[in-house]
């Protein structure tokens, strides 16, 4: 595998995009929403693109992160960082549990297991309406200022300030993901995806690797969920609904599962198109449906695959090769 240098041109491209987003888009909130879902899609891609594991449980982790961070702030008076850490810990824990049970099966059964756990989480959240607000969701979710040892470092009430906070977190996650892909763990995950029997024969306990992938994925997805709650000051029940899992998976695949930039493209496309089109035509999702069909028929590498193909066409071979393992 080529050494994928962490701070390479792709990382630079991401930094540029992060800086440009709030300027190009009509609102910082929209930009923040893109990054939040890009984070969730990135976590999904760790499992799907790199691990070969299609998980419909991502909505569960997203919802858990949203609810627990919000509850920690509302009932426990937790500050910003504590709430986020609680979300991440909860996400990691739930994902480990779900993962441990789901990886006992492979193929379509694995997918169905993640779906089953996701649905159970949804119905549980619906039932525990005293805590979650049930159908109405959790209202008035605070967005605390960034403080350290009681000293307010940055007030995050301003949308641009909060965007910057989200962007910094996204960048850290992105760089971390790059590092992870280039690590022994990352290379083994790819090997397991390619040929699990071979990986076992060569000495890897594949369950451990799949499980760690779940844990990390759940942790990051929960972080995204927590940030989303703070962004819109509200935790709707739909955060934990199956449709959230669907959307995250769709974004991941549309963006392209072959790289770490794909999730950002996919999230960007879905969120922007949703915003722009839903005002023009309430039935815009019909076009999304058409788009999905086109991707499966003609562009399986997703948007990133399209970008790579264009780059190759115009002789920018190195840009394309950089992402090959």
């Amino acid at each position: 595998m080529r050494d994928s240098m962490v701070f390479d041109r792709m990382t630079l491209a991401v930094a540029v995009i992060l800086a440009a987003l709030p300027v190009l888009l009509p609102s910082a909130s929209l930009a923040g929403e893109i990054l939040i879902f890009a984070m969730a899609a990135l976590a999904c891609n760790l499992l799907l693109g790199y691990g070969g594991l299609l998980s419909f449980g991502q909505g569960l982790f997203f919802g858990v992160g949203s609810y627990l961070s919000a509850l920690a702030m509302i009932h426990g008076g937790a500050g910003l960082l504590s709430a986020l850490l609680i979300a991440m810990a909860a996400g990691a824990a739930v994902a480990t549990l779900v993962g441990a049970m789901s990886i006992r099966r492979t193929g379509i059964y694995f997918v169905m297991l993640t779906l089953a756990f996701s649905q159970m989480g949804y119905f549980l959240a619906y039932t525990l309406s005293d805590w979650t607000g049930g159908d109405n969701g959790l209202l008035d979710v605070p967005r605390p200022d960034l403080t350290l040892f009681g000293v307010t470092l940055v007030p995050l009430g301003n949308p641009y300030a909060f965007y910057t906070f989200i962007a910094v977190l996204f960048f850290i996650v992105f760089v971390g993901a790059k590092r992870l892909i280039g690590s022994p763990f990352g290379s083994t995950l790819v090997a397991i995806r390619e040929n699990e029997n071979r990986a076992l024969a060569v000495g890897y306990d594949t369950r451990h690797f799949k499980l760690l992938a779940f844990t990390l994925s759940g942790m990051v997805t929960a972080l995204a969920g927590a940030l989303y709650g703070m962004l819109i000051n509200f935790v709707p029940l739909s955060n934990i609904e199956l449709s959230m899992s669907d959307n995250i998976v769709i974004m991941t695949i549309i963006g392209g599962t072959g790289s770490l930039l794909g999730p950002l493209l996919g999230a960007g496309a879905m969120v922007i198109l949703g915003e722009v089109l839903s005002d023009i035509w309430p039935r815009w999702m019909l076009l999304l449906g058409v788009g999905l069909i086109l991707i499966v028929m003609f562009l399986r590498g997703g948007l990133w695959g399209g970008v790579e193909a264009l780059a190759a066409r115009f002789g920018l071979q190195r840009a394309a090769k950089e992402e090959r393992p």
């Binding site: 962490v6 590092r179 690590s183 022994p184 290379s187 390619e194 040929n195 000495g203 451990h208």
Partner: protein
């Protein structure tokens, strides 16, 4: 290095319901030797192999490797103990490069220590060097960056053996390494295995009698789940029972 028993099975049995695929096998593989297991189809060679590699749990009996009872050890654990295997039906990481295939195999010896996700793979110099050395030894250095799936069948079979080699094992278990190889490639494999035999213990399942007779130190003949005859290639070749087992038995 020779003299001690590296691998021993003790009354090993693998039964599928009433059918005994492996029916009380006491096998001994001496360290430093090339030991071949042959026999007609259905003799139980593959089932024995499954038990030795951890693919199937034996119904009864024991397997001792380097003095240690590994009967219940799962396949991924055996590599760490010094056993590595190749597959009869080529099973490589087809889309990854030859180099990466070997590097992963070398890294595999670390087992769970590979769960490290914060350090770059480049820091694992030992694995990369091991992969490079093995590539040289296999004569595949020129194809280092090619996808494993792009190699010719013969080269893929050689890479199969290379994957096992990267684990720096004490014992190499090779399952029909020349399977499907063309007449020109077989001598390459034969030479490779003979050369490897100088510093590894090798257990070989083979159908190709030419290889078996030319490079083995010891040959075990199986028939109907049991050991029929065991001895030097010459002894086995001359034995009447072996001849009738191959000719007389329904495949």
């Amino acid at each position: 290095m020779s003299g001690d028993m590296l691998l021993e099975t003790s009354d090993l049995m693998l039964a599928y319901g009433g059918f005994h695929a492996v029916d009380g096998v006491d096998l001994c593989v001496r360290a430093g030797t090339i030991h071949s297991v042959i026999g007609p189809n259905g003799a139980g060679k593959t089932s024995l192999f499954h038990c030795l590699t951890g693919g199937r749990k034996p119904t009864s009996g024991r397997i001792l490797f380097d003095g240690r009872d590994i009967t219940a050890e799962p396949p991924q654990g055996r590599v760490g103990l010094g056993m590595a295997r190749s597959f009869q039906v080529t099973s490589l990481f087809q889309n990854l490069s030859v180099f990466e295939n070997l590097r992963l195999a070398a890294q595999g010896r670390d087992g769970d220590r590979s769960l490290v996700f914060w350090r770059s793979v480049t820091s694992g110099k030992a694995h990369r060097e091991q992969a490079e050395q093995v590539m040289e030894r296999l004569g595949l250095a020129a194809r280092a960056r090619h996808a494993a799936g792009d190699l010719s069948h013969g080269q893929q079979r050689v890479l199969e053996v290379g994957m096992a080699l990267c684990a720096k094992p004490k014992l190499l278990l090779l399952d029909e390494p020349t399977s499907g190889m063309g007449i020109d490639d077989i001598p390459v494999m034969t030479g490779l295995i003979a050369e490897l035999g100088r510093d590894h213990t090798i257990m070989l399942i083979e159908h190709n009698m030419g290889i078996v007779m030319s490079i083995s130190d010891r040959v075990t003949v199986m028939s109907r789940g049991r050991i029929l005859v065991e001895g030097t290639p010459e002894m086995v070749r001359a034995d009447e029972r072996v001849r009738s087992a191959y000719l007389g038995e329904a495949a």
